[in-house]
């Protein structure tokens, strides 16, 4: 069965409100009566999953580098470092020089104080346009541009960790995170590379990030509830702070350097539709059919990337109900995270598959799985667009 050009995961760098590293996440997910870590104070009425205590200098030792980044880039660069450590690549220039980097990038962190100060002064100005120019010239920090520029997460990973084989940043919320993984797996299968570092980060405890999704009417307000339970009163997204990077390499390459993989990525499919009722379901059904015969439903669980946003989450819930497999919604545990949502769900699936068991239900709507876990399906339905299905199998 195992083939040389299979894609295997040899390193996971995961940081979320639950902590950092695979062990911390597994411990949190398997502990008695799971409770998420929530921040309801920073931006009420929005419940958010915050940054855990984190010593960035452990992965980003130079203060000069840290100063050049905002939280989003720091978190991603940190998670990338953890993944490289796990995969035994840290400080291996020969390997890092041919490690291909694919980042699903967000970015766009602003200086909120400058924004509102300018907005306050504009209405009274004799010439608002002229004042805007003046204020932008004096209030924007030159370094902030780079500290929030989308492709500079990848740039910082190159600078801090020396990953320089190639560098691609994809944009586009959840589907970008899916395609980062999908393209790496496809390139490995085709011999267009052996060694990839793939991932993303999200740092949404910021007013400008909340503003965007609030315009879309998509945020959960006040009563936090688990993803499926919250559908009873309108759903909504509780955004999560998270960094996730995966080292993905060909099975032969991993074996050649004596690495024991965490798990294998057997398949990643990504699709889209205009989200007319039933269209997303049709995509998912087709993706599942394409895995025909490759999964044993009695030994498979679903790690769902459902965002919590009502329409997509409810359609996904109904589709999942028809599969009859145990389901866990990642966003209940760590919040919904846009670009890193799919990589993080793949990471959690990989850990569970390696452990050979599914973690306990995160809420009443989820059922226990006493049987051993032999494979995990991973869904990645974007809150607006994109439907993805991944399959993680034992290494």
């Amino acid at each position: 069965m195992a083939a040389e050009r299979d894609a295997v995961i040899t390193g996971i760098g995961l940081v979320s409100s639950l902590g950092e590293g695979m062990a911390a996440h597994w411990a949190a997910l398997t502990g008695d009566a799971f409770r998420p870590v929530l921040d309801t104070e920073s931006f009420p009425p929005y419940p958010l999953h915050p940054l855990p205590p984190i010593a960035f200098e452990r992965q980003i030792p130079k203060r000069g580098d840290l100063r050049q980044m905002e939280t989003w880039q720091r978190l991603g660069t940190y998670a990338a470092g953890l993944a490289l450590d796990e995969a035994g690549l840290k400080g291996q220039p020969d390997l890092l020089q041919r490690t291909e980097l694919i980042v699903a990038a967000g970015g766009g962190e602003r200086d909120p104080a400058a924004d509102v100060s300018i907005l306050t002064d504009l209405p009274a100005a004799a010439d608002p346009e002229s004042l805007l120019n003046q204020r932008l010239l004096s209030d924007l920090r030159p370094t902030l541009f780079l500290a929030q520029l989308s492709n500079l997460l990848a740039g910082n990973i190159s600078i801090v960790h020396g990953v320089v084989g190639g560098s691609r940043s994809f944009m586009g919320e959840e589907p970008a995170g899916v395609d980062a993984v999908r393209v790496a797996v496809a390139r490995i299968a085709a011999g267009q590379g052996d060694l990839f570092l793939v991932g993303a980060a999200a740092a949404p405890v910021r007013p400008e990030v909340l503003l965007h999704y609030e315009m879309g009417g998509l945020l959960r307000k006040r009563n936090w509830a688990p993803v499926w339970a919250r559908q009873a009163d309108g759903g909504g997204m509780a955004l999560g702070t998270l960094g996730c990077f995966l080292v993905i390499e060909s099975r032969a390459h991993a074996a050649g350097r004596g690495m024991t993989p965490v798990a294998a990525i057997a398949s990643v499919a990504n699709d889209r539709c205009r989200r007319q009722p039933g269209e997303a379901t049709a995509n998912a059904t087709r993706q599942l059919a394409a895995l025909n015969g490759r999964i044993d439903p009695a030994a498979t669980a679903v790690i769902s990337g459902a965002s919590g946003a009502a329409a997509a989450t409810q359609e996904e819930r109904d589709w999942l109900a028809g599969l009859g497999m145990p389901v866990r919604a990642v966003a209940t545990a760590v919040g919904h995270t846009m670009e890193p949502a799919f990589p993080a769900a793949m990471a959690i699936a990989a850990i569970a598959v390696r452990e050979g068991r599914l973690f306990p239900p995160l809420e009443a709507a989820e059922t226990p799985m006493p049987a051993p876990l032999r494979a995990a399906l991973v869904t990645g339905w974007g809150h607006w667009r994109g439907e993805a299905l991944g399959l993680v199998t034992p290494a």
Binding site: A105, Q134, N151, L152, A154, G165, M171, E214, G217, W384
Partner: protein, 430 residues
């Protein structure tokens, strides 16, 4: 008998359709005419008042109208125009059913000042001493549902999804941001997808319309922009001793990529070949190249090797050539190493001297122009080359277009964040 696979046994990827919009005009014909006439598209910014700005010029696209201006709205409109031209030329697929995926290079998307001000106005706060506006006020204004369309417009996926809907491309569009190399990365992704047999056809597009007030200020604060505002058309001076920065510009370039086997089977006219891809990230600095030039040298060498060529076979270089002191120095250093004794003899010109720096779109637009260069046997000039820089003894095709029979060309794209991509483009053997 023409082979359909390259020396490494991979499907050869050809270009069967191109489309372009720049400040020089809309469409391949107008652009090529202006480019070979040595005309500049750089002009005074009129889109917003430029009071107090150090740089007041750009290569804006003012002849394409959108109902509500924003960078994503105009990026989408001009990308649409370039795609339509490219698909029309390739004569492929039914209307609204392009038979391959979309790879789209575009600038990062962020809420802009008109939208932010609209939210402030909707909050009912007077501003000034009457009442400071806070983000909580903006959030309250946002929550009424009146800004749903603004939310959609400023999603990162918005432009790609809209274009995918309009042109019926297959699968999920991939939006790319690798700074000023983005357009070349979009081509790389398309070529790789065809080479690995994932698709026979792909649409690679770069689009950028970043000339909004905050973006101009940001680049200005990095001291990256030329401040030679008068006259605007003389501002971009690649390889000249008195070059002082780049000029932001807008544009879109689109390429229909196709396996040669697929193109020949349907009898499509082949415009050229994307023969080689090269990439190497630079870990030296966020905005500067390694002083030894190693990453850009490796990037160019990889592209040439990937094409199954040797540096002696490169007959022309379409330079990144931004006109910043740093870029042109480093690019010459890299070219000197790659071309060896032929450096200084191989013509190297910068389209940016005329169209400005189209940022995320540059790699795609300049690939389109490089294909036209090969096909038409004319090298577009580097204009404004008045004072040669003795440190850069380059043949930059100064000021006047030149006929030349070139079979293989290199197109460079280097960006902030250590992004380096080179493409080797060749003529379809007659």
């Amino acid at each position: 008998m023409t082979a359909d696979t390259d020396s490494q046994g991979r499907p050869i990827v050809v270009v069967t359709g191109i489309g372009v919009v720049t400040s020089l005009g809309q469409g391949v014909a107008d652009n090529w005419g202006a480019l070979t006439a040595g005309r500049s598209g750089i002009r005074r910014i009129t889109r917003f008042p430029v009071d107090g700005l150090r740089t007041t010029i750009a290569g804006t696209i003012d002849f394409v109208k959108v109902t509500e201006f924003s960078t994503p709205a105009l990026s989408e409109a001009i990308a649409s125009s370039a795609i339509e031209e490219a698909i029309g030329m390739a004569a492929i697929g039914a209307k609204g059913a392009f038979p391959g995926p979309l790879f789209l290079a575009l600038p990062p998307v962020e809420l802009e000042w008109p939208q932010r001000r609209a939210l402030a106005a909707a909050s009912g706060c007077a501003g000034g001493s009457q009442g400071a506006i806070g983000y909580s006020d903006l959030l309250r204004a946002a929550s009424g549902g009146a800004f749903k369309e603004t939310y959609r417009r400023f999603l990162f996926a918005s432009v790609g999804e809209t274009l995918a809907d309009r042109f019926g491309t297959s699968g999920v569009p991939i939006e790319v941001s690798t700074a000023c190399a983005s357009g070349a990365t979009a081509i790389q992704l398309g070529v790789e997808a065809i080479r690995r047999g994932e698709t026979e056809v792909a649409l690679s597009v770069g689009t950028d319309t970043s000339v909004n007030v905050e973006a101009v200020v940001r680049f200005s604060l990095l001291s990256a922009l030329s401040t030679r505002n008068d006259p605007p058309e003389a501002a971009v001076r690649p390889f000249s001793k008195d070059r002082d920065g780049f000029v932001m510009a807008e544009g879109a370039g689109a390429l229909v990529l196709e396996s040669r086997a697929h193109a020949r089977a349907r009898g499509a006219a082949i415009l050229g070949v994307v023969a080689g891809l090269g990439e190497m990230a630079d870990s030296f600095h966020r905005t500067r190249s390694s002083p030894d030039g190693k990453p850009i040298i490796a990037c160019m060498n990889r592209a040439i090797a990937d094409a199954g060529l040797v540096p002696d076979e490169i007959g022309y270089v379409n330079a990144h050539g931004t006109g910043t002191p740093e870029n042109d120095k480093m690019e010459w250093l890299g070219l000197s190493a790659v071309l060896g004794e032929r450096a200084g003899k191989v013509p190297v010109s910068s389209n940016k001297s005329m169209i400005g720096h189209t940022l995320s779109a540059a790699g795609a637009i300049e690939a389109v122009f490089t294909l036209l260069t090969l096909r038409n046997g004319v090298l577009p000039p580097t204009i404004n080359y008045d004072i040669p820089d003795p440190a850069l003894p380059i043949d930059c095709v100064p000021n006047l277009a030149r006929p030349a029979d070139v079979a293989a060309a290199l197109s460079n794209s280097f960006g902030f964040g250590g992004q380096n991509v080179s493409l080797v483009l060749t003529r379809e053997p007659g």
